[in-house]
C-alpha cells in the first residue's frame, strides 16, 4: 500500500518526531517500500491462530509486597537535561 506524505506527517506527529522536507520525501518512499514488502503477511491463513506476543508464554510473576529502597531522587534526576533538584523542568504545558 502506498503511503502519502500526509500519512507520513500524521505518523510523525503521533511518534513525536519532526521530519525535514527532504526527509519527508525519503521516508514516504521508504515506508511505502517496506510496508509493501510486509503486505505479504496478508497471504498467510491465520484463521483461528492465537496471536503470540511473547517468545515464551508469559505467566503472572508475583512478588511479595516488601518495601525496599527505591532509586534516590538525586540519582533519578542526575541525567535530566533540566531539573531543579526536586523535579524535571519542561516548557510550559498550559499557555505560553
Amino acid at each position: 500500500m502506498a503511503l502519502t506524505r500526509a500519512d507520513v506527517e500524521k505518523v510523525a506527529l503521533l511518534a513525536r518526531l519532526r521530519l525535514t522536507e527532504p526527509e519527508l520525501g525519503t521516508m514516504t518512499e521508504q515506508l511505502t517500500q517496506i510496508v509493501g514488502y510486509v503486505d505479504q503477511l496478508a497471504e498467510v491463513d491465520t484463521e483461528g491462530v492465537e496471536p503470540m506476543a511473547h517468545a515464551v508464554e508469559v505467566t503472572n510473576v508475583f512478588a511479595d509486597d516488601v518495601v525496599a529502597p527505591s532509586l534516590p531522587r538525586e540519582a533519578a534526576l542526575a541525567n535530566a537535561p533540566r531539573q531543579n533538584g526536586r523535579g524535571y523542568l519542561v516548557p510550559p504545558v498550559l499557555g505560553e
Binding site: L13, R18, Q30, A42, P51, H54, P92
Partner: protein, 516 residues
C-alpha cells in the same frame, strides 16, 4: 603466538597456575587495541585504567588464595547497550551521549561477580537497529578481515573486537540476528540463548519480546563459559526463565550420540551465495562423517519471518523509544530555537488569516519532544519508530501488528514440529560474506533482508549459534548456524563443538594491518 591469540579457556588455566597475571593479559589486550583499533573502530570507549585496576585486584586476591569467580582476570568487552553504573552507556546514540546509568544491568553485575575485567564499551548500530554497525552515531566499525567491509550488526563492535583479538570474550545482543550475523561475518562464535535465559534487566530495550543477550568468543567452549557466567533467573526481569543454568562447560566436549540434524531446503534457495552454500554443505558432510543423521524438515512459514519481524520489532521499538523525550534523561534539543520556530509558525498562520490552523500547531512541550527526537535520533531509528507507529495506529493495528503476531505463532509451531523429528536444525547464518561499507545504507529493505536466516529464532524464542565453517576465495569468513529447541543451549553447544573439534576453521585469524 601472542597472549591475546589464546582462547579464554586456556587463559584461565594460565592465570590459575600463575604462569600469567591478569595485569599482563589486560595490558596485552590494551596494547593491541591501541595498535589496531584505529583502523577497526570496535570500541566506543576503552576503560584502560579501570580494567588494569580490576586486573590488579584479581591478581592480588588470587595471590592471597581467595576463591575467585569463573571469569577471574579475563578481559571482556561489553556492547554499549548494557547499563554499567561506572561507565557512560550510549547505545551509540546522540540521545544518550552523556548517559550515566544509576545502576548495573544484571549481565554487567554478573560479569563483575564473575571477576571479569571490563575492558570497554563496544560500538553498535544505534539502539541495536541495523545489520552493519554503520548506524552508530559516532563511528562505523570495520571488519578485521577486510576493513573496506562491515563486521555486520548490530553487535559489530563486539564481534570485531573478538575477531581482532582485542578481547578474548565479548557480550552482544541479538534481536533479529545481531549476534549471529556479525559472528558469521567476522569468523567467530556467537550465540543467541533462549529468550529469557539471560536477564534483560538494565539492557536498553529495543524490541522487548525479541531482545536477548549472548556471548561472542573464538571457540564454543569459551562461548559456553561466558554464557554460564551471565545466564540464570533474575527476579528483576519478569520475562526471565526460572530454571537452573546447566554447567555448559562441563558437557561441551561430550559429542551427541545419534545426532539428528534437520536441513530446510528453502535455506539453500535463490539468493544464497554459492561459496556460502558450498561451505555449509561441506559442514553438513562433516556432521555425516561424525555419524549424524541428516534429514529434511519443513519450516513453511519461515519465508514470512522478515516481514513479521519488521512489523513486531519496530512496533515494540516505537513504544520503548517513547521514553526519549528530552525530559527524564539524555539529550534535549536547544529549547530557545525550537520555541522560536514554533512562535514563527503560529505567526505565519495568523498573518495568512488562518488563526484556527495556528491553534493546531504543537504546544511548546510537544515541540520540545519533537525537536529533541528529531536531533537526537539517526535515520534508521526514525524509520523504525515511524514504521512501528504506523503499524500500531488505528486502522492498521489488525492488518499489521496483530497479523504479524499470528504469523509469529505459526513460525513457532513450525519449529516445534521440526524439533519432534530432529535435534538441531543446521544451515547458513547469512546469505553471503561480509558486504562493503556503504553498500546498503540507502536501501533499508535490502539491509532488512540480511536477517533472513536469523530472525525466525528470535520470533520463536529458540536458541541458536553461529560458528565459523569456511572461507571464501577472497578470504572472508563463512558462518554456520545451528538452531535448537527452547532451553537446549547445552545440546546446541555440544553440537557446535562436535563440528569445531573436527575442523580448524575457528583457528583462522585475520591479519591486521601493520601486525607482526
Amino acid at each position: 603466538m601472542s597472549i591475546v591469540d589464546r582462547p579464554a579457556s586456556e587463559l584461565r588455566k594460565s592465570l590459575a597456575s600463575g604462569e600469567l597475571t591478569s595485569v599482563e593479559l589486560t595490558q596485552a589486550c590494551l596494547d593491541r587495541i591501541v595498535a589496531h583499533d584505529q583502523s577497526i573502530g570496535a570500541f566506543l570507549r576503552v576503560d584502560g585504567e579501570r580494567a588494569l585496576e580490576q586486573a590488579k585486584s584479581v591478581d592480588k586476591r588470587r595471590a592471597a588464595g581467595e576463591k575467585l569467580g569463573p571469569l577471574a582476570g579475563i578481559p571482556v568487552a561489553v556492547k554499549d547497550v548494557l547499563c554499567d553504573s561506572q561507565a557512560i552507556t550510549t547505545c551509540a546514540s546522540r540521545m544518550l551521549a552523556e548517559f550515566r546509568p544509576p545502576y548495573d544491568s544484571t549481565v554487567v553485575a554478573r560479569l563483575k561477580q564473575a571477576d571479569a575485567v571490563l575492558l570497554g564499551r563496544t560500538n553498535m548500530d544505534e539502539f541495536a537497529m541495523g545489520g552493519s554497525t554503520e548506524n552508530s552515531a559516532f563511528q562505523p566499525t570495520r571488519n578485521p578481515w577486510d576493513t573496506t567491509r562491515t563486521p555486520g550488526g548490530s553487535s559489530g563492535g563486539s564481534a570485531a573486537a573478538v575477531a581482532a583479538r582485542f578481547a578474548p570474550l565479548a557480550i552482544g545482543t541479538d534481536t533479529g540476528g545481531s549476534i549471529r550475523q556479525p559472528a558469521g561475518l567476522c569468523g567467530i562464535v556467537g550465540m543467541k540463548p533462549t529468550y529469557g535465559r539471560v536477564s534483560r534487566y538494565g539492557l536498553v530495550a529495543f524490541a522487548s519480546s525479541l531482545d536477548q543477550v549472548g556471548p561472542f568468543a573464538t571457540t564454543t567452549e569459551d562461548a559456553a563459559l561466558l554464557l554460564e557466567a551471565v545466564a540464570g533467573h533474575d527476579p528483576r526481569d519478569s520475562t526471565s526463565i526460572n530454571r537452573p543454568t546447566p554447567a555448559y562447560t562441563e558437557s561441551i566436549n561430550k559429542p551427541l550420540a545419534g545426532l539428528k540434524l534437520g536441513i530446510v531446503p528453502e535455506h539453500f534457495g535463490a539468493g544464497l551465495d554459492p561459496e556460502v552454500s558450498t561451505a555449509v554443505k561441506s559442514a553438513i558432510e562433516v556432521y555425516k562423517s561424525l555419524g549424524a543423521e541428516v534429514k529434511e524438515v519443513a519450516l513453511p512459514h519461515g519465508k514470512y519471518g522478515v516481514a513479521a519481524y519488521y512489523v513486531i520489532a519496530p512496533s515494540e521499538a516505537s513504544s520503548n523509544l517513547a521514553r526519549y523525550d528530552g525530559v527524564h534523561y539524555g539529550f534535549r534539543a536547544d529549547q530557545s530555537s525550537a520555541l522560536a520556530d514554533l512562535a514563527a509558525e503560529r505567526q505565519a498562520f495568523v498573518a495568512a488569516g488562518n488563526a484556527a490552523a495556528a491553534d493546531n500547531v504543537d504546544s511548546p512541550l510537544v515541540r520540545m519532544y519533537r525537536s529533541t527526537r528529531e536531533a537526537g535520533f539517526g535515520p534508521e531509528v526514525k524509520r523504525r519508530i515511524m514504521l512501528g507507529a504506523y503499524a500500531l495506529s488505528a486502522g492498521y493495528y489488525d492488518a499489521y501488528y496483530l497479523k504479524a503476531l499470528k504469523v509469529r505463532r505459526l513460525i513457532r509451531r513450525d519449529f516445534d514440529e521440526a524439533f519432534k523429528q530432529v535435534d538441531l536444525i543446521v544451515g547458513p547464518v547469512t546469505a553471503g560474506p561480509a558486504f562493503k561499507l556503504g553498500e546498503m545504507v540507502d536501501d533499508p529493505l535490502a539491509m532488512y533482508l540480511v536477517d533472513l536466516y536469523t530472525v525466525s529464532a528470535n520470533l520463536a524464542g529458540i536458541p541458536a549459534i553461529s560458528l565459523p565453517c569456511g572461507m571464501t576465495k577472497a578470504g572472508l569468513p563463512i558462518g554456520l548456524q545451528l538452531q535448537g529447541p527452547p532451553l537446549e543451549e547445552d545440546r546446541l553447544l555440544r553440537g557446535a563443538r562436535m563440528f569445531e573439534a573436527a575442523t580448524d576453521w575457528h583457528t583462522k585469524q585475520p591479519t591486521l594491518a601493520g601486525a607482526k
